[in-house]
């Protein structure tokens, strides 16, 4: 048996024919600056090849060669990837329970051991599927298993039936979505719209409101769908305020459980399945252990799975948490848990930054689990920037030196000791001669604060917290300790409420809503701020940018260029080219969503064909030769490049190209480079962009909107995600500049290098779930280092002045 996986001549993307060895049964860390080619090596080469070969010989799946990744790879075993970007899941029905198959175990337990409440006894045996909200046998028929539904109050929608149809529409038609509904109504029925609702016959009224079943869904249904969509994603908009007629209600039939009435009244140990699913996992484990009946293999299996989830640092989750509401790191650990439970050996695991979202304390647990996997005969490869991880790795591979075309070379491979001696790597100096810089002096806030009073959402214990302004404030704490509850669920909704349009969340506009919104997508609704909770001090800030890790667009054709507005400028530039003018090609010809998009592949450049057995293959579209644009568009050149060429450029390449062409584009690009996004392609499709990347693109977009001025608050969520030390340093410089200009930054973070650079840290804890939610320490990093209550303190670094 070979002791190494050997890759020869890896050449996908920017990799430059590199040869590497990855020792088996060891922990290998692949590091390098963002965009250097780490993921191309780990995922696109090692994982893709391992997966493909395994599937090919097992004959379970037909695979088709897409792109040759390397000259030769030997020593491969079956490979499993736990990647963050491909597992951005959006099915709102997928929960921790369904994902881990615990739902199946729990429901079997209830079907066999459950005791119905009085009045709900039945002679028929209970079946496990009756406890599944997603199965037709289990789901409540009214809310379809969701536990709630949206209701429209027609009286409120039309308080005055004497309003004319067209004026109601024009009243709410300031968004394109409503206008399209109006147009569809007119086209479908050809009936006058200059009459009032009161003048309509009953049938015509019903047609207008509820549709005719084919072309027109009905105004009531459309408004309701719109409301459901936007309240899940954005939390309200102007037209909703105008016609305040939609409500989200807990389902009256199932009382919010999403289940049939019988199973909603079946208990074990006094609790229903719904109650168990809302417990923290560690509490649930204790509850199951204490059940007063003999344990079957079913219970043991359940306990084993729960224990594993707790060990891996997810004890603060509950089974009913939806997968889309989990962070990338949490999802990754959830997947990891399922592999650990499987107890396989000889597998190559490839992880993408497994430490994301983990506190220093928790990293040790994760390392123990990874060591256990290795001990059982597996190989683990991590793409990672984390210091602790790099220090303990058995083998290190560094790709670089820089991003994109300036990267793709192997800078180093070997042991940690050897790595310290490597001079060419951008990362190794941080471990030896040039450690991550820490400030010699902390900035003072000058007394202005934002105060949160009586915060008690989720596990927060009626906290009063003062957040100093004018400096960089870090929010630290172990996973589940209440960082997000404090910031994302309390502060942000409060700011939104008070500052309205001055609180910018960077979400998409409503008009991007998909036409047929069947299932509401993604993200849980933001809870409204409880009345008792108060946010004081908003008069101290002029504007607030909330820059989170949500995707930068949901439409098929969205990409960094469209999100940042570069695309609009590019279209204009191209339409002004002599070639375009001569052929009368307007702006629309340079948009994939308009005249410019290839009608055959809808601008994708590829056509997806079904090849049987649940497999698809992407074929280059022969109508547009894979360009996605129509022929006329491709005939227009700007300084020798087509619009497709431009979309294929990385940000850094585009910066050079547009430098003397357009100031607006150049400005945006330069900010993108500064936030470490120089390597990303202008036309990279949204689904392949990670959460950390999305966040930095959003940050760049806001920063590029001219002079930021003073008194602006920036709220960031784990900005270190996906960043190497080198890139972190660049990002910190940018944030420091913002603060020096008189702005404030609040960031939730685990990375000790970033936290050490904060001027003030608010630490939540002491642990996750019910034992979290307290403010355990606050002060400068130097204060925290001395504070015995602080858990993060001992990991922080301070400048010489504080030693």
């Amino acid at each position: 048996m070979k002791q190494n996986v050997e890759i020869k001549g890896a050449k996908i993307h920017n990799l430059r024919h590199i040869d590497v060895k990855i020792p088996k049964y060891k922990l290998t860390v692949i590091t390098g600056v963002s965009g250097s080619g780490k993921s191309s090596l780990a995922f696109d080469t090692l994982y893709e090849e391992g997966r493909k070969r395994y599937l090919m010989f097992s004959g379970t799946q037909l695979t088709v060669e897409n792109e040759i990744t390397a000259d030769d790879i030997t020593g491969l075993s079956p490979t499993v990837a736990v990647e963050q970007r491909i597992i951005r899941q959006s099915n709102p029905r997928s929960t921790v329970s369904t994902r881990t198959q615990i739902e199946a175990l729990l429901s079997t337990m209830y079907a066999n051991f459950g005791i119905p409440d009085e009045g709900y006894e039945t002679e028929e045996p209970l079946e496990a599927v009756m406890f599944h909200k997603n199965s037709p046998k289990g789901m409540c028929p009214r809310c379809m298993g969701k536990g709630y539904y949206y209701r429209l109050d027609e009286e409120k929608m039309l308080p005055d039936k004497n309003i004319r149809i067209d004026s109601l529409f024009s009243d709410i038609c300031n968004n394109g979505f409503m206008w399209r509904i109006f147009e569809r109504y007119r086209r479908t029925f050809h009936k006058p719209t200059d009459i009032s609702f009161a003048e309509l016959s009953e049938e015509d009224y019903e047609e207008l409101m509820y549709g005719e079943g084919k072309h027109y869904k009905g105004l009531a249904q459309e408004i309701l769908d719109m409301y459901a969509w936007s309240s899940l994603n954005h939390g309200g908009s102007s037209w909703q305020a105008k016609i305040n007629c939609c409500f989200r209600e807990e389902c009256k039939r199932c009382e919010g459980t999403g289940l049939g009435q019988l199973v909603a009244h079946t208990r074990i140990g006094g609790k229903t399945i719904t109650e168990l699913e809302s417990m923290y996992l560690d509490d649930l484990l204790i509850f199951l252990k204490n059940l007063p009946f003999e344990k079957t293999s079913l219970h043991k299996e359940l306990e084993k799975k729960l224990k594993c989830l707790c060990d891996i640092g997810l004890s603060y989750l509950s089974l009913n948490r939806t997968v889309p509401s989990l962070s990338g790191g949490e999802i990754q650990r959830l997947f990891l848990a399922s592999y650990i439970i499987a107890e396989m050996d000889s597998i190559i695991f490839v992880f993408d930054e497994p430490t994301i979202g983990l506190h220093e304390n928790e990293k040790q647990n994760l390392l123990n689990i990874i060591r256990k996997l290795i001990g059982e005969g597996n190989t683990v490869v991590c793409v990672e920037h984390d210091e602790t991880f790099i220090r303990t790795a058995d083998y290190i591979i560094d790709i670089g030196p820089d991003a994109g075309v300036l990267g793709g070379k192997k800078m180093f491979e070997g042991s940690y000791e050897g790595f310290l001696a490597c001079k060419d790597s951008r990362t190794s100096p941080y471990f030896s001669e040039k450690p991550f810089p820490v400030p010699g002096q902390y900035r003072l806030s000058g007394g202005r604060t934002l105060s949160i009073q009586n915060a008690h959402i989720h596990n927060l214990k009626n906290l009063d917290v003062d957040i100093p302004l004018g400096i960089m404030v870090g929010i630290a704490g172990v996973s589940g300790s209440g960082k997000s509850s404090l910031i994302a669920n309390t502060l942000v909704p409060g700011l939104k409420e008070q500052m309205r349009s001055r609180c910018i969340t960077g979400d998409e506009k409503l008009s991007d809503a998909p036409e047929e919104e069947d299932e509401e997508t993604n993200f849980e609704k933001e809870e409204a701020l409880p009345e008792e909770t108060k946010i004081l001090g908003t008069e101290n800030i002029r504007k607030c940018y909330v820059i989170d890790q949500r995707p930068i667009g949901r439409s098929r054709t969205s990409c960094p260029a469209t999100y940042t507005g570069i695309m609009d400028r590019m279209r204009k530039l191209f339409s002004e080219c002599p070639e375009a003018k001569a052929r009368n090609l307007g702006i629309g010809y340079f948009s994939l969503n308009s005249k410019g998009g290839c009608p055959y592949c809808h601008g994708d450049g590829v056509v997806r064909r079904y090849i049987g057995f649940g497999n698809f293959i992407d074929l280059k579209c022969d109508q547009c030769s894979g360009y996605g644009f129509v022929e006329e568009t491709m005939s227009v050149h700007l300084n020798g490049k087509t619009i497709r060429d431009c979309l294929e450029m990385t940000v850094s390449e585009a910066y050079e190209f547009f430098k003397n062409l357009d100031d607006v584009i150049t400005n945006i690009l330069s900010v993108l480079i500064r936030v470490g996004m120089g390597y990303i392609k202008l036309g990279q499709k949204t689904p392949t962009i990670s959460g950390g990347e999305s966040q930095r693109i959003k940050l760049a977009k806001e920063l590029s909107k001219g002079k930021a001025g003073k008194d602006v608050l920036y709220i960031l969520d784990e900005p270190s995600t996906g960043l190497s030390f080198h890139d972190c340093e660049k990002l910190l410089q940018l944030l420091n500049e913002l603060i020096d200009m008189g702005n404030s930054v609040i960031l939730t973070e685990h990375d000790t290098s970033i936290l050490s650079n904060c001027d003030w840290i608010i630490e939540m804890g002491p642990s996750g779930g019910k034992s979290g939610g307290y403010l355990i320490a606050q002060g400068t990093p130097a204060d925290l280092k001395k504070n015995p209550n602080s858990t993060i303190g001992k990991y922080l670094k301070t400048g010489k002045t504080y030693e």
């Binding site: 009214r142 379809m144 539904y149 019903e206 079943g213």
Partner: protein, 300 residues
Amino acid sequence: MNEREKHIHEIMASAHHPQVNSIVIWENGEIRAECYFNGHHGSSRHNIKSVVKSILSVGIGIAQDEGLLRADDRISEYLPEFAQQRDMRHRMIRIRHLLTMSSGIFWQGGVHYHCPMMDAMLRSGDWIDYIADCKVKDVPGTHYLYKEFDVILLSAILTKVTGDAFDYISTKLFQPLEIHNDRWWHPAGVYYSPAPDRESESVSALTAKEMIRIGQLFLQNGIWNGNRILSGEYIRSATGPSPANPGYGFLWWLGKGWYGCRGFGGQSITVFPDQNKIVVMQASVTDRPLSYEDIVFAEL
């Protein structure tokens, strides 16, 4: 055994349909052939399964003729659960939509009535309340979907307007046609024949010749022994294509040159108006949804 019966026996000998128990042919005013298999005979009763839906349609027709209801009435006028706006489209549902299986109410079918939503409804104890809590997925009248809910609602409406749907159908249809039928299953106050177990279901069992009479009533345009039982107008509606499904009328199936009733496992009444002919078939029910349309449409 006449020539025609011999012919049928020959066909059946080579047709491999061991479950078929009776085939009866009526043509031009009289029974022309009566064939029974597997020890069955002229007074053997078979559970008629979903043929009962078509009989319920007749009941609704008679009630409309008597002015008790109209097909265009909104069901919210009769069922208060549908007047509570639990779903905003409830008010659009009309009796006509129930008759044509196009109420739009959400339904996930299983194999015939062995379906999860029926089980849940039966467990609930209040059927109408359960159905009124189901989402209206499609605009009423626009999408055909064969489902039990629509029929159950109709049955409840018929009871509402007549006092008792079964008594009404017995008096107005079964007695004049001399059809014997035990009281239908009604555990939750709503008559509904296809029960979850065979025991309760066996009460809606007819002989093959009784089934012929249902077809005969339609062929005779609603007249029985000189008395009008059902209006010709309703029969025309019931056997004419509905907007959401051209192969379905008012709980009656339609095809080229025929209309009729179908019940699970091969129970059928098929009327060929142009030939002035009716074919009735009965069969033992298995777990599989078998049908014997090859025989029904053969030259018998």
